[in-house]
């Protein structure tokens, strides 16, 4: 096993795509960095924290991106966002087989907040344009910095979200919530609670992520291949029926969670007999348990929400 979490963005790309196939657009040699960070005398990066390009995945042309968590937490600024949007538009131009987004981001880059906010909304719209063009979009969340803020929303605009247990997917980070509403609201230093609330197992049980894998690059790659092969068989654009099903799932989740304040209570209500044991389970054992208890399994066989 080789850990996906520990890799940099530039190491993840060759680990996910077919060997030697990836061509980067606007690589670091083009030296397009954030002008706003420079103005603040903050360090810049010649890729502005994201790799975008085109490669082969299982022999098919797949467009992709990888956000670098080590540079400003993978946060989205003007250049970073424009690279993502440009890649997504090109994927439509060149009729890509699929788009694979390796997300690791704190969301909007606060150093260039206004541009970052607009950019994330442009990325979301571009992702939905890709889907409307009949091209599946798959998001992978397995980096140490998780996927938060606007990018946490963007991830859920993909057809499929693939996570590891260690991955975290949410909107506001625990620190932000603790700062706003106190340690009683959310103790950001309680790592177990943070993982129960935002981690891959919880998201998978609730239906916010469609595939869960061990923290292993080969497992992530295999899951991406499976997801794309599955998606190209069907409708990948938004449909009224798909969104009505998602609305049902989200409304039912609110009802089912009435009065609950702890993720383990939600798991118990899903029928998991030993919720406290869930964090300790290996991926395979967890998946076997989840197969019996995941939310949204009841109506249709593929009732994992909007896909």
């Amino acid at each position: 096993m080789s850990s996906y979490l520990e890799l940099t963005a530039r190491q993840r790309i060759p680990a996910m795509f077919d060997a030697g196939s990836f061509e980067e657009f606007l690589p670091p040699s083009a030296r397009v960095a954030s002008p706003h960070l420079a103005e603040l005398d903050s360090p810049v990066s010649f890729d502005d924290g994201v790799v975008v390009g085109r490669g082969l995945l299982g022999g098919h042309t797949v467009f992709g991106a990888a956000q670098e968590g080590a540079f400003m937490g993978g946060a989205v600024g003007e250049v970073h966002g424009a690279k993502l949007a440009g890649m997504l538009r090109r994927a439509i131009d060149e009729r890509a087989h699929a788009v694979l987004l390796l997300l690791e981001s704190g969301g909007v880059r606060l150093h260039e907040a206004n541009a970052g906010l607009i950019a994330v909304s442009e990325v979301m719209r571009a992702m939905l344009d890709v889907r409307a063009a009949g091209i599946p979009v798959v998001a992978v969340v397995g980096g140490a910095n998780g996927c938060f803020g606007g990018m946490g929303i963007a991830a859920r605009c993909a057809n499929t979200v693939i996570m590891s247990e260690e991955g975290r997917l949410a909107m506001s980070g625990p620190e932000v919530i603790e700062t706003a509403n106190g340690v009683e609201e959310f103790d950001s230093r309680d790592r177990a609670l943070v993982w129960r609330t935002t981690g891959g197992k919880h998201r998978y049980l609730m239906g916010d992520c469609q595939l869960l894998v061990a923290d292993d690059t080969a497992a992530f790659r295999a899951a991406a291949l499976d997801a794309i092969a599955d998606l190209v068989q069907g409708e990948v654009g938004l449909t009224l029926e798909g969104l009505l099903a998602e609305q049902d799932m989200l409304a039912r989740r609110l009802q089912d969670a009435d009065g609950a304040s702890e993720p383990m209570e939600l798991w118990r209500r899903l029928g998991v007999s030993d919720p406290a044991g869930v964090p300790m389970l290996e991926a395979d054992a967890f998946l076997a348990l989840a197969a019996r208890h995941r939310a949204g399994l009841q109506p249709a066989a593929s009732g994992t929400g909007e896909r």
Binding site: H36, E78, A82, G86, N114, R125, S172, F186
Partner: protein, 238 residues
Amino acid sequence: MDWQTLATQLFPGGHDIVERDNFLSGSAQVDGKRVAVIGTTGHVPIGIEIALAQATAILKTVQEHPGRPILILVDTQGQRLRHRDEMLGINSYMAHLGKCVDLARRKGHTVIGLVYDQALSGGFITSGLIASACYALPQATIRVMGLPAMARITKVPEERLTELARDNPVFAPGPENYLRMGGLHGIWEQNLAQELAQALAECSPEDRRMALGRERGGRMLAQPVADAVRAGGDVRAA
């Protein structure tokens, strides 16, 4: 501005908007046509319930009134910062709202956002910012964060940020800055009813915000960078 005053000015032809727990919904007469109205008021934080309520109203409009234009009235202090919202996946509820707006657009509904009071980051990104065009009133507050908070996070002194913000709209809050960056299509100074009718008439489903930001001199790199990535060329400075 309170929403009733706003509605009176926006819809001289009448409206049936109702408020329930800071959620606004209804319809109004604009230039002889019926328009669906959804939104929020009271600077309410966008939690999972109100995000879902807005999404439900949009899908209902798509089902029951095909093609009817949709106006989203924005007043929020941002996403709700609670453990429960995160536990239940508030990002999924927000994304769902954004996808419903996107579906409406693709099915031929003109979708316009109007920031009439406050708009902050998370609450704004899947409402006004996902609409086909977004406008604001001049006295509106639009921001991710204020300069004092930004100074703490970036460790750049507030005085320096204030100075930089004079020329660079990326740093400071305010509708004028969002206008320059292309995040807003326009600011409605007076005759709101006329502005709305005109906005509905000229709205395009294309996302042209990068181009707007460049034309207005507020976001100079987004369009050339996206173009260079798309065309496989170099970034051409403006």
